[in-house]
Structure formats: structure tokens, C-alpha cells
């Protein structure tokens, strides 16, 4: 049994705020939550009577559905809001939208927003627990947690595991959260991408930075591919998609440079033929669909732990 039984904050805004023991607590709790998903009745009453609002200001399929499913499996009542067809198109600000929703007394708000720091802003003005489901190019903590859960499930540990993160480093909140989490848990991280997409200061986060995918793949236990985020590129970062694939796409030949039992990960949605070759994405080393399944378990763990409750030792 771990020493820690709770998270220090009632919000999950980023991996940055989490200590290694808190990360372990979430991952351990997710193991139990994963078992719930294997039952014929995949629902437990832990969050009965709690209300969770899913506030998605940016397009999202898997994260939104994953959170919704996690909430439902814990018996919480859920409400969803996406920007299309909401008051946001009429000009309401983020804070006003949140305050309006708060008047309906939800217990938790899951928020995704295109602006970095959006979740932090809500945490300052709201009484509810805020869960960051991705804020701009800043953090996406539940993605990093589910990635870590997947790696731990396959490799049995995080410490000492060599993880190559390859792709659009500049626009990736997935990268940032993963680097913070993996380095904190003792993994060895290599980040690889085109020189135009390497953010300043990445080397100071405790990772090795390279522009050679062959070098990044060499001896890796985990190859984590990042999506090329065309929608966030307001400038000429890449000459062409074909050139990107030639220089940075994960192919079977490059995968062969990694350890023979290396796993291939991708947070989705994938651009086949851009950052990853189809045969690799569908190959037997790919754990991309495991990541989706694990996402539900990890989000259940986060929701459960943040819901809080008074410790009551009764027989």
C-alpha cells in the first residue's frame, strides 16, 4: 500500500504540480479502475450524485468521449458543452461561461481550451475542481498519465525506460506533459523533431534533443509519435508533408533500430503517412488502441481522487 492516499490539490491543472508519489497514486488507482472496465456491468457507484461538466472549447473526440465514459462508469451525472451552438459563439467570455455553469453547482469541470492557461484561470475563479483536458500548447496531463500507465503496463516500470518522443515538438502539450512526467519518474527521454519545431529551452527540461530520427530510435523502449498540428502552424514550419514523412516519419526500418520489444505510441488522431507509416501504426508493436482503453481507466482514477471524501475508517 502506498503512503499517499490523496492528491494535494483539488484541481488537476498539469503534471507540473504533481509529485512522483501523486503520479504513482493515480497510476495505482487506475489499475483498479481498469478492472471495472472488464466486468459485464462496467459501472460503480463511487461518484453517485456528483455532477461533472465537460467544457470543450476545442474539437476533441477521444478525450471528450473518454472523460464522458469515465464519468459514467463512476455514476456521476455529466453535462457536455462544445463551442458550436453555445453561448460562446455569441461572445461570452471563458470566465462568464464558467461562472454561469457554476451557478448550477457542478462538482467538477473538465476543460479543454485553445489558450494556454485556460484551466488555471478557471481554477482561480471557480469553486469546482478543475481538470485540464488540454490547454493550448501548455499541458494535457491526463494524456501523459495514460501514456505512463500504458508504458508501465507493458514495461513494468517507468524508471530507466528509454522513451523517444518524435514529431511536432513546438505545438505539443502532449510532449510537455509527457516530458514533465517521464523525467520526474526517472525515465530517459529523447525528443526529436525538425529544427523549426523544437521549442526554445526544451533541452533544459532534462531531455536529450536531436533532429535525427535514426538517433532517437536507437535502443528505444518506447517510440511516442506526435501529431503534426497543421491547425496550430501559423507560418512556414515544414516544406511539405512528403518531406516530413521522409525525414521524420516512423517506418518499419526505423522501428527496427529500437529495441526488439519496443512499443509504438500515438496520442491520436493519427496522420497516416505523415508522422507514422500505416504498417507500423497497425503492427504488432503498436499499443495505440491500448492507450485509448487505458485513457478511460486513468481518467476514472483522476475523477475519483479529486472528488475527495472524508476519510472514514469503519468496519
Amino acid at each position: 500500500m502506498g503512503d499517499l492516499t490523496m492528491l494535494r490539490s483539488r484541481h488537476l491543472l498539469g503534471i507540473e504540480d504533481l509529485e512522483p508519489a501523486e503520479i504513482s497514486l493515480i497510476l495505482d488507482t487506475a489499475v483498479a479502475m481498469k478492472e471495472v472496465g472488464t466486468r459485464s456491468i462496467k459501472k460503480v457507484p463511487a461518484l453517485r450524485g456528483r455532477t461533472v461538466v465537460n467544457l470543450f472549447f476545442e474539437p476533441s473526440t477521444r478525450t471528450r468521449l473518454s472523460f464522458e465514459l469515465a464519468e459514467k462508469r463512476l455514476s456521476a451525472d455529466t453535462m457536455g458543452m462544445t463551442t458550436a451552438g453555445s453561448s460562446v459563439v455569441k461572445g461570452e467570455t471563458l470566465i462568464d461561461t464558467a461562472r454561469t455553469l457554476e451557478a448550477m453547482s457542478p462538482d467538477m469541470i473538465v476543460v479543454r481550451h485553445a489558450c494556454s492557461g485556460a484551466a488555471h484561470v478557471l481554477a482561480r475563479v471557480c469553486r469546482s475542481s478543475i481538470i485540464n483536458a488540454g490547454d493550448g500548447t501548455h499541458e494535457h496531463p491526463t494524456q501523459a498519465l495514460l501514456d505512463a500507465f500504458t508504458i508501465q503496463g507493458r514495461k513494468g516500470r517507468l524508471a530507466g525506460v528509454r522513451v523517444a518522443i518524435i514529431g511536432d515538438l513546438a505545438h505539443s502539450r502532449v510532449l510537455r506533459s509527457n516530458v514533465l512526467l517521464l523525467t520526474r519518474m526517472g525515465a530517459e527521454v529523447v525528443a526529436c523533431g525538425p529544427a523549426t519545431l523544437i521549442p526554445v529551452g526544451l533541452g533544459r527540461m532534462g531531455v536529450t534533443v536531436t533532429t535525427s530520427i535514426d538517433e532517437a530510435c536507437e535502443g528505444a523502449d518506447v517510440l511516442m509519435m506526435l501529431r503534426v498540428q497543421h491547425e496550430r502552424m501559423h507560418g512556414l514550419f515544414l516544406p511539405s508533408v512528403r518531406e516530413y514523412f521522409t525525414l521524420f516519419g516512423l517506418t518499419a526500418a526505423r522501428l527496427a533500430r529500437a529495441k526488439s520489444d519496443a512499443i509504438v505510441m500515438h496520442p491520436g488522431p493519427m496522420n497516416r503517412g505523415v508522422e507514422i507509416a500505416s504498417d507500423v501504426a497497425d503492427g504488432n508493436q503498436s499499443v495505440i488502441l491500448d492507450q485509448v482503453a487505458n485513457g478511460v481507466a486513468v481518467r476514472m482514477a483522476v475523477l475519483y481522487l479529486l472528488a475527495g471524501g472524508e476519510q472514514n475508517e469503519g468496519a
Partner: protein, 175 residues
Amino acid sequence: MPVVMDADRVAKSLTRIAHEIIERNRGIDDLRLVGIRTRGVPIAQRLAACLKDITGTEVPTGVLDITLYRDDLMGHDVGPQPLVRSTEIPFDIDGRDVLLVDDVLYTGRTIRAALDALIDFGRPRSIQLMVLVDRGHRELPIRADYVGRNVPTSKKESVRVHLVEIDGRDEVEVA
């Protein structure tokens, strides 16, 4: 601290209960044991060993974590959530006689949660309850079918069950 059960008494109780189980169920082919975390788990395993000694039959034994079914998860203050650990019931309980096993029966709330959890796994023919110690003070209409020892207590006292597998010794104390 007064010791109400020593190692010898714990062992004898389990043997006696094993005989009672066989008598009451007229055979144990459909019996499935489910230990409630934490200390119900080793007790269930020992009971399975007793049943095997007597009948030669291996009784499938599972583990139930009732945390997600507790009725005290509703506090709205920031506070520690009870640690959730895995439930492992690697067999079908439909149509079987399930024997829930726990260390202490007190308010009955744990057993209420365990019944809810178990029923989410299927529809057993019957659910029975075995506890090492029944200390009284029920808050729900729940009773045990097999009891190691009835120990009258006051609500101020606490009953501490120590088991070799977890605590290094077998002993039940009232403090």
C-alpha cells in the same frame, strides 16, 4: 489489551466453520469464496485450505475491494479518498453459492457495499457471510451465517485482527 482469540482459537474456528459450511451446503461443488479486502482475503484463503483438507475439493477464491461502493464517499470537503485496489473474481458467480469472508462484522455497512458490488458481477444462487469476529452494533439488517467468535464490545472499543500473512501473527485483540 485483552486477547479474545489466539492463533490456536483462530485455526480451530476456521476448521469448525469449514465443517459447518459443508454441512449447510450439502457439498461444496457450487461454492465460491470471496474475501473482502484487506483481511478477509487471507481468511478466505485459509478457509479454502480447510475445505480442501476435509473434502479434497479446491474451492475457487476471489478478492473483492468494496471502496467504490462505500456509502461514505459523498463528503464534499477536500479530503483523502480511500485507496482503491483491484477486485479479482476470476470465476462466474451466476447460479453459484457465494460465501463472503471478512474479518470483523460491525455496522454492516461494508457488507452492504460488498453485496452491491457482488451483484454487479452476476446473480448468485445464494450469498452467505462468514466473519472471524462479530462485535455487534449493527446499523443495517445484516447477519453472519458463520462466526468465528461473538465478542460483545462497546462502540468506544476497537477490535484489532492480526493475521500472519499481513501482521506476522494470528491474534484478535479488543482495545
